[in-house]
């Protein structure tokens, strides 16, 4: 399993290395950067949803905390962007950890409700605290800099997120095939069986929830600095759904499915922009058709078709 999994990692790294040389213009480079950012978030979310089997409909809220920490703390308090990013991740981690204990006593639909509620509350807070956040209009974000070097060009950003993505894929593959990862998958397969062999299921659910929330927060900060502007839409319910859809369309419990899902769903709105006025209808219809014909998602469905295991 390891060898084949790493083979995929090498392909990812090769594609990431070659991509900037072949993209025709900055529009596609921008698209590639946003795909990579989403891919990192979706990798984390897939560990929670696909591998551990725990749904979250509120991850955009965590992303929003990271993004707004990176916007608010440097703007209003003069914090260094890296410090602000760390603070955003810490706040997110703390919030996720405190709330996760009671949340993960819940299952299925109740868990969906609780995470959805949490995300919406965060979004409403961002919209309402206009003195700090600029309200519904959003606010500009100062540039990210490190030791006198300012990250401004898309090329630089590309290498930063490409590195992050490669490391995330590597770490995800490692994690899945470890005692920790097996415990996660086992509590998805049979919660009671994992308990009787000694897995403290609530602890594991909390750990992976916090980890995926922190990932989302960090990538929220990256998004904020890269785009240079944040709006509450980053943290809204629909964005949470988009992230979950990336997980499911690519394939639950599939590392490479996460990447494919992120790539496809980031590109889709661009592709649909030509349908003037019909984008929403087309987007909804594509979601439905994908799920009806490939309920397990692209990568697992194709893998099964060509007779390979994951």
């Amino acid at each position: 399993m390891q060898k084949r999994a790493y083979f995929g990692l090498y392909i990812v790294i090769a594609v990431l290395a070659v991509l900037p040389l072949v993209v025709p213009n900055s529009f596609y480079l921008d698209l590639a950067i946003r795909m990579a950012i989403n891919a990192v978030i979706v990798l984390g979310l897939n560990l929670l949803i696909g591998f551990a089997g725990q749904i979250s409909l509120g991850h955009a809220g965590f992303l929003g905390i990271g993004a707004y920490a990176s916007a608010v703390l440097p703007t209003h308090f003069g914090w260094h962007p890296l410090l602000a990013m760390g603070a955003g991740a810490a706040i997110t981690g703390l919030l996720a950890a405190v709330l996760a204990r009671p949340i993960f006593k819940l299952k299925g639909q109740y868990l969906a409700m609780a995470t959805l509620g949490l995300g919406i509350i965060i979004n409403i807070a961002i919209r309402n605290e206009a003195a700090w956040t600029g309200g519904p209009d959003g606010m500009p974000v100062p540039a990210m800099g490190l030791m006198g070097f300012e990250l401004t060009s898309d090329k630089h950003w590309y290498w930063v997120v490409a590195l992050m993505l490669s490391v995330s894929v590597w770490a995800s593959i490692n994690l899945i095939d470890s005692p920790f990862g097996r415990a996660l998958r086992a509590l998805h397969g049979s919660e009671v069986a994992s308990q009787v062999v000694g897995v403290d299921v609530v602890r594991y659910k909390v750990a992976i929830f916090v980890m995926s929330a922190v990932f989302a927060s960090l990538m929220g900060s990256i998004t904020a600095h890269y785009v240079g502007f944040v709006t509450p839409n980053l943290a809204d319910f629909f964005h949470s759904i988009e992230l979950v859809t990336m997980v499911v369309i690519g394939g639950m419990a599939s590392v490479y499915g996460s990447l494919i899902g992120a790539v496809l769903l980031t590109a889709l709105p661009q592709a649909l922009a030509t349908f003037e006025g019909w984008e929403t209808v087309a987007f909804g219809a594509i979601l439905m058709v994908c799920m009806i014909f490939m309920p397990k998602g692209l990568v697992p469905t194709l893998a099964a078709k060509f007779g390979k295991g994951d």
Binding site: A171, P179, F180, G189, G198
Partner: protein
């Protein structure tokens, strides 16, 4: 002192008294069987002792320490293992990974070390994979070492559960109907397997309907009926007990 001491254990679900004031004790190293008609409360008793249900009243002691109401994962740290009547196999994992999950508490569960693939962790994990393969051979699943769990037959999955439980290196193992649904040949194999487990020093408690198997294997037998203890003793004592004869022949003849 007995390894396991159960004293006046009861659980009620709403108005249903599934287990009522049941007391017994199990010495280390023996094979102990729990029998009784369907609905007698055998599986519920297992669920109580292994922490899946919390008792309404009564006491459970393991090595003198009270364990009533402790969660299953806490009991796992004390060397209590079990299998399930309705299979609880993780179908999203391979067969050997199911066995390796059994060794959860014996491995390094650190998240960060795992993500960074530290050699200390992976070396131990690789050793565990070898050990898990051996366990699969021990329970007669050598054919399935490379298999996916969802490609295995019912009889094979029953034994996979036993292998997973053994990977915990338990002191005390609860087997809930290990022979149910198996063909006669498989039943004999499981019979042998339980004897091998007992010989290796593990205390075995089993629920089973196959009377031949129970009488063959068990040092002592507990008979439950309608959630109450009907009799307890050696196979011979139980077989001659008039209450047991009445319950079995009266209700089932």
């Amino acid at each position: 002192m007995a390894l396991l001491d159960v004293n006046k254990l009861s659980i009620h679900f709403g108005g249903v008294k599934a287990v009522q004031e049941v007391s017994f004790s199990i010495d280390a190293g023996i094979v102990y069987a729990v029998i009784g008609p369907n609905g007698a409360g055998k599986t519920t008793l297992f669920n109580l002792i292994t922490g899946v249900y919390k008792p309404t009243s009564g006491e459970i002691r393991l090595d003198g320490e009270s364990i009533g109401g402790k969660s299953p994962n806490e009991l796992a740290t004390r060397g209590v293992a079990r299998t399930f009547q309705n299979l609880q196999i993780c179908m999203n994992m391979s067969a050997i990974e199911n066995v390796m999950v059994g060794a959860h508490l014996r491995l390094d569960r650190n998240l960060l070390k795992a993500a960074l693939r530290l050699p200390t962790l992976t070396r131990r994990d690789a050793e565990m994979r070898v050990e898990a393969a051996e366990l699969m051979r021990f329970v007669g699943l050598e054919k399935y070492i490379e298999a996916r769990a969802d490609s295995m037959s019912y009889g094979a999955l029953k034994r996979l559960e036993i292998a997973r439980a053994l990977a915990m290196k338990p002191r005390l193992i609860f087997l809930d109907e290990p022979a149910a649904g198996l063909n006669p040949k498989e039943t004999i194999e499981v019979d042998d397997l339980i004897r091998k487990m007992a010989d290796s020093g593990i205390t075995v408690v089993l629920v089973e309907h196959d009377m031949k198997m129970v009488m063959n294997l068990s040092d002592r037998i507990l008979v439950l009926d309608y959630g109450k203890k009907l009799a307890e003793g050696t196979g011979e004592e139980v077989r001659r007990n008039p209450d047991v004869i009445a319950a079995y022949l009266g209700a089932h003849a």
